[in-house]
């Protein structure tokens, strides 16, 4: 399974090469792998519905990290969406993106990458593996929505999607860690088994973990109040919308809830937020869809609404609700993806997606219109389509359960379904109806690449509706993880006809209510436009508020004064080091004044130079005196028998002296025009003195804490001649024992050099621009 995921990524990397020969070829090539994945998954249906196919690859064994995958019923259902619809949408993209489209190369590779990471996500059987793929989908969708990034709208939408989903993703990671630690394992299947058995330890940690995980699921699946990113992301090309926002990415949150529900659905901390947020989202999304005029945004709010619906079904627990959930999951993919593709085809054919401008497409594009009607009918819940089966089962699940909770949920779902039927009707009417007083919109017929995938999806929805037992087998494979309450619940199956009863009545009410709402569309639209608060404004205010806080904090902390920064550092050093040293330190008893007589003059020289630096008024003098201090310390190294250190110290000192002198040429020769005020001088002197005394004192105390050579040094001494073949232990440490440090340090040097060069060149470039002259030498400098 890992190989399959990796293959997606590798092929995606190579796709730009194929793209050079033609975009269509690239998209069709990209479609092959998802199609193969679907075939592989379907070939494993038997095992997947039974024990499941598992695979585990060690990732970082010493840390206990592994990449675990598991193909079971839920993963299989998701793969039908992710890979099956993915392949169809890639074929559709071949028709959608023109041969000269600049977006095509990027989109082909990114959509395939996305399919790969999404596949990894649904197959993951390890919380951390799942998290990795989860964030990869966020990043990939950011790139897909942002496209070239040359439009402000795209950038904002992409950033919003990224910020919101990553916020949830991070909280989810925290939740995963808490959950994994509480369970003692990160294997999802094992955690679920523990959860089902009620043996999950960890006290108050598990509820917190679950809430954090739910936050991740809610943001990803655009639940209230995080939903605005999904409609905003509609700026992406239509095939991308169809894939990310119908088939895969936004389903990730629903999938996560479905994945974990069997273990936790009986905990109130799990199902209450899901039900409340899910129904709220279903209502808000459906209501807002009635106000939109852009067909794609109608569908986007419809997706928001349906995601709320799915959340409730898959999070509320219960075998029948889970059956309905899987049924709706498949149904939603099979009607929302073709609806998006139809919008793309209409956009292609007429150049607009505004339902106020479209008219008469029913007669000019009859085939597409029929497909659209069928898909929308499935969305509205019309028999014999898959959407009907899912919806009726959903009503059944909560009506049969009885009790006030279930009735409240059932009524909520009914109202939501009325809205669903209403916007389904609005979509069909808006896209295809001949509107009074409007000329038919001129069209040019879309090619087969644009229509065949649509029909495949629609027919899929119809066939699966008629062949309900197939879906039932798949859904039961997942739903049987729940313990049924009674024999009736245990014996329930997805089927086209359950006989008359309350669920059927509910379905009829939903359809009738929806049509009635649609007939009153003018009034409804006015109402739906009015909204006391807007989640989008909330998001924008939050981001703007964060930026303001950042500005305020930065303005207070980064005052741009070197003395202030140094004072802060020194105060912290004094406050933390001094009490610790006084409390825990022991003044060494055998402290001698000097070890070698040569240390005395060197020490005096260093001290004198240090005092003189403080007195210096000219920069050049100060630099020279600092050099004296450096050489003096180097001399102390020599006296103490550390020639390696001394050599390095002398060389670095020389070089930094030269660098200082270079820079000094551009700086005023004196530090200040006139001496600073007496009071600030006194404060600085006091702080410097205290700081110096503390550091010196701590150094002595620390040297007293050491009783003999550390065992590490002993080992170095012992190992150097044989292990590293070195007579110079310092060299052996640098290039052998701690060679990784060395590599890291020269990496730092590399960054520092690049930083210095960039800063110097950047200021010069600014000056060149300010004076209005182009600067060829600057170009040369930047290029080297």
């Amino acid at each position: 399974m890992l190989a399959l995921v990796a293959a997606h990524l590798v092929v995606a990397l190579l796709l730009p090469l194929v793209s050079a020969r033609g975009h269509r070829l690239a998209f069709v090539t990209a479609a092959v792998l998802p199609a193969l994945t679907l075939v592989w998954a379907l070939a494993n249906t038997g095992v997947a519905l039974g024990a499941g196919v598992t695979e585990s690859v060690a990732w970082a064994p010493t840390l206990g990290l592994e990449l675990s995958f598991r193909l079971d019923a839920l993963a299989l259902a998701m793969i039908v969406l992710v890979s099956g619809l993915g392949a169809l949408i890639l074929v559709y993209s071949a028709g959608y993106f023109g041969p000269t489209s600049e977006e095509a190369t990027r989109s082909a590779a990114l959509v395939l990458t996305f399919a790969g990471v999404m596949l990894g996500l649904v197959l993951a059987d390890d919380l951390l593996t799942l998290y990795v793929f989860w964030e990869l989908t966020s990043i990939t969708s950011y790139l897909l929505v942002g496209q070239r990034g040359d439009k402000r709208e795209s950038r904002r939408a992409a950033l919003q999607a990224l910020l919101v989903t990553v916020l949830g993703g991070l909280s989810m990671l925290l939740g995963f860690v808490l959950l994994g630690e509480a369970a003692g394992t990160y294997r999802i299947s094992e955690i679920l088994a523990l959860g089902r058995a009620g043996e999950l330890q960890g006290g108050g940690m598990v509820p917190v973990a679950l809430l954090l995980i739910l936050l991740g699921a809610f943001t990803k699946s655009a639940q209230l109040p995080f939903h605005p990113w999904l409609p905003a992301a509609m700026v992406a090309p239509t095939p991308v919308s169809a894939y990310l926002h119908a088939a895969s990415m936004v389903k990730a949150g629903v999938y996560l809830v479905a994945r974990l529900s069997p273990g936790f659905a009986d905990l109130a901390v799990w199902w209450v937020p899901i039900v409340v947020v899910g129904i709220g989202t279903m209502l808000i999304g459906g209501w807002r869809a009635l106000a939109e005029t852009d067909l794609k945004r109608v569908l986007a709010f419809g997706t928001v609404s349906q995601l709320g619906f799915l959340m409730v079904l898959l999070g509320a627990g219960g075998r029948v609700a889970a059956l309905a959930g899987i049924g709706m999951l498949l149904a939603h993919g099979l009607f929302k993806a073709p609806l998006f593709m139809i919008v793309g085809a209409i956009d292609h054919a007429t150049g607009t997606r505004d339902l106020r401008k479209l008219s008469g497409l029913r007669t000019s594009m009859p085939g597409l219109a029929l497909a659209g009607v069928l898909a929308a009918a499935s969305m509205a819940g019309l028999p014999p389509l898959l959407g009907f089966i899912g919806k009726e089962t959903a009503f059944e699940a909560f009506i049969e359960e009885g009790g006030s909770r279930s009735w409240a949920i059932a009524i909520g779902l009914l109202v939501g379904s009325v809205l669903t039927a209403a916007y389904s009707a609005r979509f069909v009417w808006g896209a295809f109806a001949a509107k009074a007083g409007k000329e038919p919109t001129p069209v040019h017929a879309p090619g087969p690449l644009l229509t065949v995938p649509v029909w495949l999806c629609v027919v899929g929805g119809l066939v699966l509706g008629l062949a309900a037992p197939v879906v039932d087998a798949l859904a039961a494979g997942y739903a049987d993880q729940y313990v049924p309450a009674d024999a009736e619940e245990a014996g329930y199956h997805l089927a086209l006809w359950h006989g008359p009863g309350l669920p059927l009545l509910f379905s009829a009410v939903a359809l009738g209510g929806g049509l009635a709402l649609h007939l009153q569309r003018k009034r409804v639209r006015k109402l739906a436009h009015r909204s006391p608060f807007s989640a989008q404004n909330g998001y924008e205010n939050t981001v703007a508020g964060l930026e303001r806080v950042a500005v305020v904090v930065t303005g207070r902390l980064q005052v741009g004064s070197l003395p202030a920064y140094l004072a802060t550092i020194l105060v912290v050093v004094v406050l933390f080091l001094a009490p610790a040293a006084i409390a825990a330190g022991v003044w060494p008893g055998d402290q001698v004044f000097y070890h070698e007589i040569a240390q005395v003059p060197l020490g005096i020289a260093v001290v004198v130079a240090a005092v003189a630096v403080v007195r210096a008024r000219r920069r050049f003098t100060a630099v020279l005196l600092v050099g004296v201090i450096g050489y003096g310390v180097g001399g102390l190294f020599v006296v103490d028998g550390a020639p390696d250190l001394a050599l390095a110290q002398f060389l670095v000192e020389t070089l930094s002296l030269v660098a200082f002198v270079f820079v000094l040429r551009r700086l005023p020769s004196h530090f200040t025009e006139q001496p600073s005020p007496r009071r600030s001088q006194l404060f600085k002197a006091a702080l410097a003195t205290v700081g110096g005394i503390v550091v010196a004192g701590v150094a002595v105390v620390l040297s007293g804490a050491r009783v003999g050579p550390a065992s590490a040094s002993d080992d170095f001494v012992a190992l150097a001649p044989d292990g590293a073949g070195a007579e110079n232990i310092v060299a052996a440490i640098i290039v052998d024992f701690r060679a990784l440090d060395t590599v890291g340090e020269i990496g730092v040097l590399f960054v520092a050099a690049a930083g210095v060069a960039s800063l110097v060149l950047a200021t010069r470039y600014d000056r060149g621009r300010a004076s209005g002259q182009s600067s060829p030498p600057h170009e040369k400098d930047v290029l080297g």
Binding site: P643, D644, A646, L647, A648, L651, V652, T654, L655, V658, A659, F662, V663, R665, R666, A724, G725, A726, E727, N728, V730, A731, A732, I734, V735, D736, A739, L740, T742, V743, I746, G747, L749, F750, A752, A753, A754, V756, A757, V760, L761, R764, R767, P777, D781, L783, G784
Partner: protein
Amino acid sequence: MTAPEQPDAVPFDEWDRPVEGWLLSGRCRDGHDRTLLLEVATRTLFPTMLVFSLYLLLVGHYSPGGGFSGGLVAGLAFVLRYIAGGDVGLGAVVSVRPPVLIGSGLTISVLTALVPLALGAQVLSSAKLEATLPLIGAVSTQTSLFLDVGVYVLIVGVVLDLLRSLGAGIDRDMRDAGERP
């Protein structure tokens, strides 16, 4: 077809210009601030310092030295050359761009770290190399020397980068601003 080079194509006042790049070119910047004494000293010191830096690099395993010190000495040799001859003197001897040097150094070190992996050993393991060279006899060294070589090259690159941005760059800024260095 270009005309065959005439022996007297070299102008009279340049007949004694050094042909070798590692000697100071003899051209001077702007004609002022030139100390002949320093130039002469540099002509002798520069190659010596480079040889010394190589010595430090090679001897590092057995006595004070190593890639860091060696690289710094070589860098200081270039600094000396820059002080004596300015940008011209530096450019005559180093035609490689500093970022390329820095990158090569880092690459050499990282490759040294990774090569043992390809041979089935742990990252950064080292081995002893022994050979008998004609005239010199048996010599031995460690493969970790290559790590040091990477450090050496990188340090030289860093120093040259410093000279390029702080030295020559500021020189030109001052020239542009009409100030005398």
